[in-house]
């Protein structure tokens, strides 16, 4: 789960990490008031959307006086912000964050995330602040200093020192950095974050360490114990159908093709998308209906798939293990009848009672195309788009 920059900063503040003075605003009027309240010679007006590249897309502007500020606020609030992460359709800006400017002596990169290969959290810092870390990692990997944290003992002082020494810090800024890094790790741990990235982390002329930007991602598996984080969820940032699907315990992701698919199991669902492509078609979605594929789940699945108007055919691929295929077949027939579908539905059922299932499909009076094996199913689904 992701949150907005201003929410991330509130969270950092709660953990006593220094941030610039800032105020979120949900209307132009609020933003104007926020500007007055900040009472600062330099103010950044920042669009709040869950996507990177906001600056390049024109969603972050610096104002040096009142007129400039009002101008930026009016331009950015309500704009359709397009960045490399929003996709071509862009994102409507409905929240702003106004932030006082900070004098910057130097800027760094600092982040904590999970290292899947070493199965531990890794804390990374770099002197190359403010630029994309992926670029630093591929071009000058020696400029990234890393420490891996044993989860049973937590981060230790020698590790914090290694990070701060690695940035070439001394004196007050060295001490401040150590304290900030320690707080970052606490914040990451306590909130079940999967990424905490501060880029840039800046040193001011007074040798204070301040988080100028922050990016959080949270482990969805842990949300049951993170009520404060869940409260920050912004549903307008998520796909409407993906939300509805999750309410029905279905896992749906919309794609750009026209062959819809409904599958039990995430791996098989991905493999089904892939084989549609091999058969010459383009998958319209990922949809995992989970372990129980009954009439109700199938019906919900159909509704969600067909909310995408590009869909021209639907492929149902169920490997019945504990779930019996004949039950699934009955569910499919019932759902097709009740919803009165007008797109071709190709059904492949394999596993427990597959033969009985095939007979149920063939004897039904609805237009279902039975298939044998995944290749046959994918080809039939792609073919039926063309017909």
């Amino acid at each position: 789960m992701k949150i907005h920059e201003y929410q991330g900063k509130e969270l950092l503040k709660k953990h006593n990490i220094k941030i610039p003075h800032g105020i979120p605003a949900f209307s132009i009027e609020e933003a104007m008031k926020a500007y007055e309240a900040l009472d600062s010679s330099v103010v950044a007006v920042k669009a709040q959307v869950h996507a990177g590249g906001r600056g390049k897309g024109g969603g972050v502007k610096i104002a040096k006086n009142k007129d400039e500020a009002y101008n930026h606020i009016e331009n950015i609030f309500g704009m359709n912000l397009v960045t490399h992460q929003t996709g071509p359709q862009g994102k409507n800006v409905e929240r702003l964050y106004l932030e006082s400017g900070v004098d910057i002596k130097d800027e760094f990169y600092a982040a904590i995330t999970l290292d899947r290969s070493l199965e531990m959290d890794v804390f990374m810092v770099s002197t190359e602040g403010g630029v994309e870390i992926e670029k630093v990692a591929s071009e000058t990997p020696d400029k990234i200093i890393k420490v891996w944290i044993d989860p049973l003992v937590g981060i230790k002082n020698y590790q914090l020192r290694k990070l701060a020494f690695g940035l070439g810090l001394t004196g007050k800024s060295f001490k401040e950095a150590i304290s900030t890094f320690n707080k970052m790790y606490n914040c990451y741990q306590k909130n079940d974050a999967s990424i905490l990235e501060i880029n840039p982390l800046v040193i001011t002329n007074d040798d204070e360490i301040i988080a100028l930007d922050s990016k959080f991602n949270f482990d969805s598996n842990a949300l049951f114990r993170q009520k404060d984080i869940v409260a920050m969820r912004d549903l307008t940032e998520e796909d409407e159908m993906e939300i509805e699907a999750s309410e029905h315990n279905l896992n749906y992701i919309k794609l750009d093709g026209n062959v819809g698919c409904m599958v039990n199991g995430a791996g098989l669902a991905m493999a089904t998308m892939d084989i549609i492509k091999i058969a010459g078609g383009e998958p319209a979605n990922f949809l995992d209906v989970g372990g129980t594929a009954n009439a109700e789940t199938v019906k919900n699945g159909f509704r969600i798939i067909l909310s995408d108007k590009n869909v021209k055919s639907i492929l149902i691929n169920i490997f019945g293990g504990i779930v019996r295929c004949d039950r699934v077949a009955e569910g499919v027939v019932q759902a097709v009848k009740e919803l009165g579908l007008n797109v071709p539905v190709v059904v492949r059922l394999q596993g427990t009672n597959a033969k009985e299932a095939k007979k149920i499909l063939e004897d039904s009076n609805v237009s279902i195309i039975p298939a044998h094996g995944m290749k046959d199913a994918a080809e039939k689904a792609v073919q039926s788009v063309l017909n």
Partner: protein, 291 residues
């Protein structure tokens, strides 16, 4: 022979009184799995499944009474990590955790603890492990398997069943099939399984099924290139998955560039693994390798 479990495995089911626990315990017993005990804290002294399995309050107690050495976990996500830790400290040698949705921070800790205690963990978020005709320790449909000489290791549940079904249709049976799970942090890796299959005298070939996200398939392939004498057929799911999106499994997300399906397929092929482009060809590719 086989790997990790067999007819002598003495199984305790953690969370046996829940609906999932009871349902799958019955299925496992029917398959022939030697379930010797169940554990649900507070329900010690009772029994389930018409009195056939006794319930204890702790794993420790179940080991004292029944000499259980293997555990399978069906407890909800908030309690799953602790269930693993309890079993590990009680001395269980092999733990299968079926539970989906265990927090990653919990698993990072669990991983260090099981390493320290020398416990083998399979999962979480996995279908479990089956040694054909001997022991089913999981939720997979046992009847689709046929005894034979192929080992199967996979990140996905139903895709494992698909592969097993294709193997059987190609005339190939299995020794042991393991679903290692689709989470970012799991107990037993693909490489671990290849090592075990290489050492198992009854396994003559292995099918590995991976997906986008992480480096597990690549690490296994590099190891296999240097150490594996048996042929490997492979498949990687998610060529059409968009980057940055979590595809069902918590770990199935393209987040770098070297964790895409294409990147993995390339490395696997370079390491001598025969990767099928289409999911429909897993069985036939393995068959041709065995001829």
């Amino acid at each position: 022979m086989s790997i990790l479990v067999n007819k002598n495995s003495r199984v305790v089911v953690q969370g046996i009184t829940g609906s999932e626990g009871q349902f799958h315990s019955k299925q496992m017993l029917d398959y022939g799995t030697n379930i010797v005990a169940g554990v649900t804290p507070g329900k010690g002294g009772t029994s389930v499944l018409d009195g056939s399995v006794k319930v204890y309050n702790s794993v420790e107690e179940s080991i004292l009474r029944t000499k259980a050495d293997t555990s399978i976990i069906f407890v909800p996500p908030p309690f799953a990590a602790e269930a693993i830790i309890e079993s590990s400290y009680a001395g269980i040698k092999l733990i299968v955790c079926i539970t989906e949705g265990v927090p990653i921070h919990d698993m990072v800790k669990v991983k260090q603890i099981i390493k320290r205690n020398g416990t083998r963990l399979i999962g979480p978020n996995c279908p479990g492990i089956i040694t054909v005709d001997e022991c089913k320790l999981g939720i997979m449909p046992g009847f689709i398997c046929k005894r034979g000489n192929i080992g199967v290791v996979s990140k996905s549940g139903t895709l494992t069943y698909e592969a097993i079904d294709q193997l059987v249709n190609s005339g190939l049976g299995q020794t042991t099939a393991i679903g290692i799970g689709g989470d970012p942090i799991i107990g037993t890796t693909m490489l671990d399984c290849l090592e075990l299959f290489e050492d198992d005298k009854d396994t003559d070939g292995v099918v590995i099924i991976g997906e986008i996200g992480g480096q597990m398939e690549i690490e296994a392939a590099h190891w296999a290139k240097e150490n594996m004498s048996k042929p490997i057929a492979g498949f990687i799911a998610g060529k059409t998955a968009p980057p940055g999106k979590r595809m069902g499994h918590a770990g199935a997300i393209v987040s770098g560039g070297n964790d895409t399906a294409e990147a993995k397929i390339k490395v696997l092929n370079e390491c001598g693994i025969s990767v099928s482009e289409s999911v429909a060809d897993i069985g036939s590719v393995m068959k041709s390798l065995m001829n």
